[in-house]
Symmetry: D2
Subunit: 355 residues, 4 copies
């Protein structure tokens, strides 16, 4: 099987479009034709050489939806459906060992030290085809669904699922989300899906379009604030001076975590899925912000299959206007342009459509 | 590799002692020399042909501790230790697929429809050697520990871990355990390990020795009662007429579940790991025993690797006199005698020592 | 202060419309003018003399919304707002001691043995005015909201909150609700608010209008089934033969609990808020329905203030067409007619409007 | 009733021994004769004028055990026992409103804004007698128990209960405790009572006696370390380089919280009950210490009645040598000496015995 890939061979240079010969799938593997591959902000980091894990050459792309090619023997998806040629599927971007302390005892496979991620640790979805490992967990998607917005489930959606689940929301809780990007919007959807009474999304000046999208997705308010004081004031007005039962930091900025703690109500939780690379130290007033308020600061590292399942379920629920998620679609050959568009924040979400 | 096994070839007949040629371990498999194999009550059921799952011929034995034979390549145990020849290990008796809804989404692998159990679905531990599947989860044991009592961790210990975890005990709760057999005693240990204020174990007349063992293991009281009324009265005296915050049914008798609900305090839980085969219907007063008391009846089906890990941790903690657990040791050739001894309730716990 | 009440003086006879002199509120009490009083199915039971707790004479009515009359000193609602004359409020129908084991240690005040309920243990809301106890918990409602549908929060809404919270739903779970009455519909709303992927409501022939209302409230399906087999078949089709992760029994029929267990998926929960009076024994196949499936049967007894808070939050969220909840409104003098209308199942929800 | 009190009338001066006339108990109040009053480290802070909440004059003492004086009408303890003259009781040092959002909706009464604490907000236990508020929650103690060590349940024991409950320990987890003072030792007991596999307590040079006491109370190791590096190294050796599933900071030093995060295993929790006054900012590496490890930092503010109940249950369990807890006993007239002894760290736990 011949595949065409966009390969990162040199940092900061255009991706190289190449033909590759894929071996036939061996036992338990599944060959898919990539229908849509999401372009994630961390792809830009890798392209720019800022992610120390990156080993060249590498085919980027950890978010994908594909179609099963050729017979696969007896292979089932998460729901127990036997896969057939032509099925459209999504998969957990991280394949874990299932045998270690984190997988088998703690049931937190996102911490598995053997976790292999397509597009980060091994070749990914910027490709016409991908050979999925035997232990990659698959989920069949309904026929006829647009694959482009569904790629969001693979990374930002699953991470948002993890971040919101960790908040243990109660019906009636007020939620604040910092950062109206893809993770922020998915976090908004999960907060609403878990019973938040109302959600406030905070962005920065320039985020107006993204904030408008948040309002269309159900945010009670979505504000552009230019400093920490303004942000804190917005939250206190939103919550009648109580603070928010949950604050979810989706910007990746360390300052935002500090601000988030100020906004958290006594007994509340501050969930932090946004920070994805080392950003140095933040100052935490341990008494005022953590102990006296009995607050929980919860770090969120990536996601697992249960979160992917939640994200797909949410995206298929028709409660939200999914079609608005994907602002830009590119051909595989335009992968470099797609990275640039994301880097310049011109795209809310860009997706490669290799076929 | 030549192995000697005790094979069940015909129900109700003596097990057949046979020599078998084991294939060399292929990739990911681990060959172990069985040091100790527990004889479980359900082995007797299988021998007697009462368990409809049993397909002959079959080597029984789902509880085992063994020593790693020959090099194994890079294979790690649950704690991340690389296995070496000579290591003493225990393993999860059930090997699960890791890919299905129950394994990957619900994280309840004990419900995996592909669960394979040594000694039940495939050949087990009544043998000098066993070839463990690549996906069987392993845990290295400390050198020098007596392997015989540790087999208890594999089945009754892990099941007890599951049953007590589901109770979500609080420090100060009072616990009642019905049935002073191996599951009951392990349940007692877990209840104490999770902060039960005091534990009452109830048995039937004839159980006096077992009840005395429960007292040595930390039961505040251990009583032989001859009827439901006497049992209920014992619990009400034990709890100052409040009922027990948790009642754990470890006899397998359906009547005992009915009794257990009567003993459960308002807001409490009745956990049921004992019933292992169909026993017909029980009558439940849905208003008085469940709804009005806001009680939870929790079925417990087998266990998973997290429970095995707990059971090993508990058994190695030196808080309890483990050496008292094993009442009888037999050679492999005496496997039939071991089954008879268990069937007659002459043994508290019988273990085969094939070497 | 003169109040007019509809008093139950003799079972099965028309309620007696009487004038009563209320004492002035003493320290901590709050006098309210009743704006709306719900007529609950259990009011009919009490009227018919079927509830052994009923002591005559009694003013029925445990669901109420009222307006604060006259100054109240420094009295705050649950959110910390200081109450003022004219404020519209709702309150927890049960006032609990706050000092007992269930209130203070277990934090399950619905089990408080000293719980006093308006309209059941003491005079209630079938009245122009009501004097609320100092320890009754209050919640201010927004000005201008129609008080009639909000009474639902006080009893069926709060109970539904309790029943669904106990299910610990995950995003993506499938939920079945038995019984399309007020508790069933509120349970539907809470299941959706907590992330159920889709909800099936089952009724009996004759329930068509109620089932249509369930569809308008968001049920994926709402079916009238005439027997247990048809019900089970409907659930299995709805869930692709998996069973439902949560089944919530809202009919009060003991047979329904039996059916509910058959419909529950492995690892799932069957929550039972419907049964409110003794209904005898049900037969439970302890192995097949509870243990082998690792299922939890959770009894639900009434509710507490946290559930009331959830119910008010949900009803004010504008996600559902609240105005459809109240099918009939009556004057206080028509209280007997209201009971008859509810008894004949002609009303979905009837509310007295005493002013 | 005449009472003798040790009153703090001027910061840094000896407490003033005074006679006071107590009013007769009014409805719901309970007059107790103080049998033992604990001298807490925060009493020293208040004496020294370092706690801004302190309003003079004030009778210190928030930890007490007393004997009921004179008939009390129908008053029950937490377990439902009717109190009688002569009963020995302990009580929740904080009396909460029961009506606010934190008490009634969130069920976290330790965050109640109306919480009144004996010896901090109102006169406390440095007295021969104390009049307990009607809403103070009481727990009867067994006759004959030495009251001095039981005062530990009132403050450090209850706080430790809260801190360890928040860790949600699993059987087999490894726990590290920073600080071998009274909170640290009680935290050790709770960690063991909840199934910790082994506990390491870290102190500073000079803490050798306290560390020896920790070993007698069940710590697997108890080390004096002189710097953060040595502490981290000790933990990594203790946990085979994994980190501890739970680290509980009981020193109150902000640096210790930073160290604690370094010691926490991936997926673990760092619980912080020690910091009781503002101590400025600490630097947290948000990526390395929180997000990448998926760690939870949980602030712990005081405790509630459920924690008191746990602490009493634990102290009465006879698993630990309670008599070792109290190093010094003083007469009421020696209260100033007691404060000095605690301030100089000469006492592990000092208790006033006013009778």
């Amino acid at each position: 099987m011949q595949a065409r890939v966009a390969s990162l061979t040199q940092f900061n240079h255009p991706l190289s479009i190449e033909e590759r010969e894929l071996p036939p799938p061996s036992n338990g593997e599944v060959l898919v034709e990539i229908l849509a591959a999401g372009v994630c902000g961390s792809d830009v980091h890798m392209w720019r050489g800022k992610d120390p894990r990156t080993r060249l050459p590498l085919v980027l792309g950890h978010e994908g939806v594909g179609r099963v090619v050729a017979p696969v023997g007896r292979k089932h998806d998460l729901r127990g459906s036997q896969l057939a040629t032509g099925d459209v599927i999504i998969w957990d971007r991280g394949t874990t060992c299932g045998q270690c302390y984190f997988c088998a005892v703690k049931k937190k496979p996102y911490l598995c030290p053997h976790r292999q991620v397509y597009g980060i640790v091994r070749d990914g979805c910027y490709s016409t085809h991908l050979l999925l490992l035997p232990r990659t967990r698959l989920l069949r998607l309904p026929e006829g669904a647009d694959p482009a917005p569904l790629v969001v489930a693979a990374c930002s959606g699953a991470t948002a699922a993890h971040a919101v689940a960790a908040c243990q929301l109660e019906i009636g809780d007020r939620v604040v989300i910092l950062g109206p990007g893809p993770v922020g919007v998915m976090t908004l959807c999960f907060a609403l899906a878990r019973g938040a009474k109302k959600v406030l999304v905070l962005g920065r000046p320039g985020d107006e379009e993204r904030l408008a999208l948040c309002r269309r997705f159900g945010a009670a308010e979505a504000l552009a604030v230019s400093c920490a004081e303004e942000a804190a004031q917005g939250v206190m007005e939103f919550t009648n001076d109580h603070g928010a039962e949950a604050v979810i930091e989706c910007t990746g900025s360390p300052q935002a975590v500090q601000e988030a703690l100020l906004m958290t109500a006594p007994g509340g939780v501050c969930s932090a899925p946004g920070v994805a690379v080392p950003v140095g130290e933040i100052g935490v007033r341990i008494y005022e912000d953590i102990v006296r308020k009995n607050v929980r600061l919860q770090g969120i590292w990536v996601s697992d299959t249960s979160h992917l399942h939640q994200a797909v379920s949410l995206l298929l629920s028709r409660r939200w206007p999914l079609e608005e998620l994907v602002s830009h679609r590119f051909r595989l050959e335009e992968a470099t342009l797609a990275l640039e568009t994301v880097e310049k924040r011109q795209a809310f979400k860009a997706v490669l459509m290799p076929h």
